[in-house]
């Protein structure tokens, strides 16, 4: 009798442990561009995610975390869609995270919507993406965060009256143009020329576009180009044409001064004013800790950048959901946990997810580049707190 009770008890406890162990695993599907033109960005986001887990070992509570990675390969859309579908159908992940390019996010939206799986976007910035499905939450940014804030700051803080806007001719660029123009003209400024500067696919020779901007003699020249090699070309051309000497300030969202490319820009970048939600020189304890740990892990030349922080914060959001739901990742409950989530100790300052739009709310930092001890450093001018995506706030265009 006793032995039977013991074996029953043993069986029951084994079942409990086994059952408990099953619900203890959180499977995260990560879809980033690990090869091709976006490989660097994929690597930064990936590292950001790794760094969060490293610096916050208890964040996931008792949940075991499994990460399955898939390569989106290119901004084309179809490969990402296939990758996301495979993560859901073959790998049976609890949620999908990542996505660098807007095109890929747009292509993947119907898949996560049909499967009812949460998607945490860690970069793709076209404003209306979060409207594509109630299962999409974004921890990165919308083009309007920086664009709108910069338009406002250009008129009020930088006291500019006229502006020329140069932008890469694809939706994030047009988004950025509209955001800047909206705010700049509302604050009394005038955009006197809008110059589309080639596509995002390859870095054009910016000389003709910048020459045209220079001839218009604006107070500020607002430029949006995709982060990476485009930005380097922009700064070089700005210097080569002597535009600073001609009295034209170069301003833009932080995409043009991405930390991993910054030091390569050299003297031409001095005086550049940017508006962004993150740069590696932000002065707060969490960021200091992050930068130090980053350099220790990947070398003194490595640095976190805005993409890395998006991976970091994305993991923080997922960890919050996992913990509060006791590792049982029911899609509806996950979305509920993400909506209204706040994170005060992010290296980019306090952030939260707006429950009505599922998009990020965060600080924007206006900074100027200066040279300090032979290094380019971002010097803070102003901080705008609690910035929302103004496109959805004001219901402009496709953001209704």
């Amino acid at each position: 009798m006793k032995s039977r009770l013991v074996s029953l008890f043993a069986a029951a406890s084994l079942a409990a442990i086994a059952g408990g162990a099953q619900s203890q695993t959180v499977r995260i599907g990560v879809k980033l561009t690990y090869t091709g033109v976006g490989a660097e960005f994929g690597q930064q986001v990936d590292r950001g995610m790794q760094m969060f887990v490293k610096l916050n070992p208890g964040a996931f509570g008792s949940c075991k975390v499994e990460i399955v990675k898939r390569d989106g390969k290119n901004p084309g859309g179809a490969d990402s869609k296939t990758a996301v579908a495979e993560l859901i159908t073959q790998e049976k992940v609890d949620l999908v995270a990542g996505i660098i390019y807007s095109g890929n996010a747009i292509a993947s939206a119907p898949v996560v919507d049909a499967a009812k799986k949460p998607l945490v976007i860690m970069n793709a910035g076209t404003a209306w993406i979060t409207n594509l499905s109630p299962y999409i939450a974004r921890v990165s940014f919308s083009m309007w965060h920086a664009g709108h804030a910069m338009g406002d700051a250009a008129a009020k803080t930088l006291k500019a009256k006229t502006a020329v806007v140069g932008y890469s001719d694809f939706p994030p660029g047009k988004d950025s143009l509209e955001a800047f123009k909206h705010a700049f003209e509302a604050a009394g400024g005038k955009v006197i020329d809008e110059i589309p500067m080639g596509g995002p696919g390859q870095v054009p020779d910016f000389t003709p576009f910048f020459q045209r901007a220079k001839d218009k003699k604006p107070d500020v020249f607002f430029v949006f180009v995709p982060a990476g090699d485009h930005a380097v070309g922009v700064v070089k051309t700005y210097g080569a044409l002597g535009m600073r000497q001609a009295g034209i300030r170069l301003i833009g969202p932080g995409d043009i001064t991405q930390d991993i490319k910054l030091q390569a820009m050299g003297k031409d970048a001095i005086g550049l004013v940017t508006m962004h939600h993150y740069h590696a020189d932000l002065d707060n304890p969490a960021n200091k800790r992050l930068v130090a740990a980053w350099k220790q892990e990947w070398g003194a030349a490595a640095t976190p950048d805005f993409m890395a922080i998006q991976g970091y914060d994305g993991m923080a959001a997922i960890a919050h959901a996992a913990r509060s739901l006791n590792c049982k990742m029911d899609p509806e409950k996950v979305m509920a946990a993400l909506k209204g989530w706040t994170f005060k100790d992010s290296p980019r300052g306090p952030i939260s997810i707006d429950p009505s739009t599922r998009d990020i709310v965060m600080n924007e930092y206006l900074s100027e580049l200066v040279m300090q001890d032979g290094r380019l450093v971002q010097r803070p001018i102003a901080t705008i707190r609690g910035v929302k995506d103004m496109c959805k706030e004001l219901k402009v265009g496709r953001c209704k």
């Binding site: 090869t35 091709g36 033109v37 490989a39 660097e40 001719d169 110059i195 589309p196 500067m197 080639g198 390859q202 870095v203 054009p204 020779d205 000389t207 003709p208 576009f209 020459q211 045209r212 001839d215 990476g228 090699d229 380097v232 070309g233 070089k236 080569a240 044409l241 002597g242 390569a264």
Partner: protein
């Protein structure tokens, strides 16, 4: 903007195209070999130039010379071992082979150096602006234009005034006839291939400020190189020169005045031009 500024800006970009593409034009005209991997040779040279400046501190001109020599040597090896086998092969097999070569090069560069764009550290005397008295213009652009013109003159002299040049021209116009007259076409081709690839390498290094330098280089600019060669006429050095300047200047003007649709007009123009004159501006009509 005044005309000189536009001409200079466009000419600078055009010169880069010229230096990179001239080798392709001559080899395609000489051997009829569709070498889509030309951009890969250019890229390898560009990397050699940029990395030797970065890690060994070589001055710019020395790095350019190194790039030329290294890629020329590589070209000789590849030509003798692999390319030579495909001279009689179908056009398609040549396309397949050279694209395969491009993939291999891209992958190797990505694995060894990394996917990021390389930044060139231009020497001081090339940075900033130069005052020519009547004009202040970007030093770098002026230098490229000067180099391109010098190269053009050197090549022209080489082709018109030397025996080697005469042999090459003869072989381009009529290979069989030239061979039957005793010209060693095989050796000629190896030499031309080597020099052409070496020049492409220098072009990539010189043009890295404008065209950038990353593992995707060979595929990204393939269309432009082919256009310059086709519009100029196969095997015609002066053809490539004028075609490159034409395209460079046009590109600049279009982007300045019509930034919306700029590059499209290059392709439209090429289409119209090749339809009107399939042999290119300076090419000879097919026998």
């Amino acid at each position: 903007m005044d005309l000189t500024g536009i001409l200079l800006g466009g000419a600078a970009a055009g010169m880069v195209l010229f230096v990179v593409s001239v080798g392709l034009s001559v080899t395609m005209g000489l051997m009829g070999f569709v070498n889509l991997a030309h951009g890969a040779f250019a890229m390898l040279g560009g990397y050699a130039i940029v990395l030797s400046m970065k890690h060994w501190g070589l001055p710019f001109p020395a790095a350019l010379a190194l790039g030329f020599a290294a890629v020329a040597a590589l070209a000789v090896v590849l030509e003798r071992t692999l390319y030579a086998r495909l001279y009689r092969a179908s056009e398609l097999d040549q396309v397949l082979f050279t694209i395969g070569l491009v993939f291999v090069t891209i992958a190797l560069v990505t694995l060894t150096v990394g996917p990021e764009t390389q930044t060139v550290l231009l020497p001081e005397w090339l940075r900033g602006q130069t005052d020519l008295g009547f004009l202040r213009y970007r030093s770098y652009s002026l230098a490229i234009i000067a180099f391109g013109v010098a190269l053009m003159l050197a090549l022209w002299l080489g082709f018109e005034r030397t025996q080697l040049g005469a042999r090459i021209r003869a072989a381009v116009d009529n290979r069989r006839m030239a061979a039957s007259l005793g010209v060693d076409v095989g050796r000629l081709f190896t030499a031309t291939f080597a020099v052409g690839s070496g020049l492409a390498a220098m072009g990539a290094g010189l043009g890295a400020e404008i065209l950038g330098l990353d593992p995707q280089y060979p595929l990204r600019y393939l269309a432009y190189f082919l256009i310059v060669v086709a519009v100029g006429g196969l095997g015609r050095v002066h053809g490539v020169f004028f075609a490159a300047i034409l395209i460079g200047v046009l590109d600049f003007v279009l982007k300045f005045h019509f930034p919306k649709g700029g590059t499209m007009f290059i392709y439209a123009l090429t289409l119209a031009l090749l339809l009107a004159r399939p042999q290119g501006l300076f090419g000879r009509k097919a026998a």
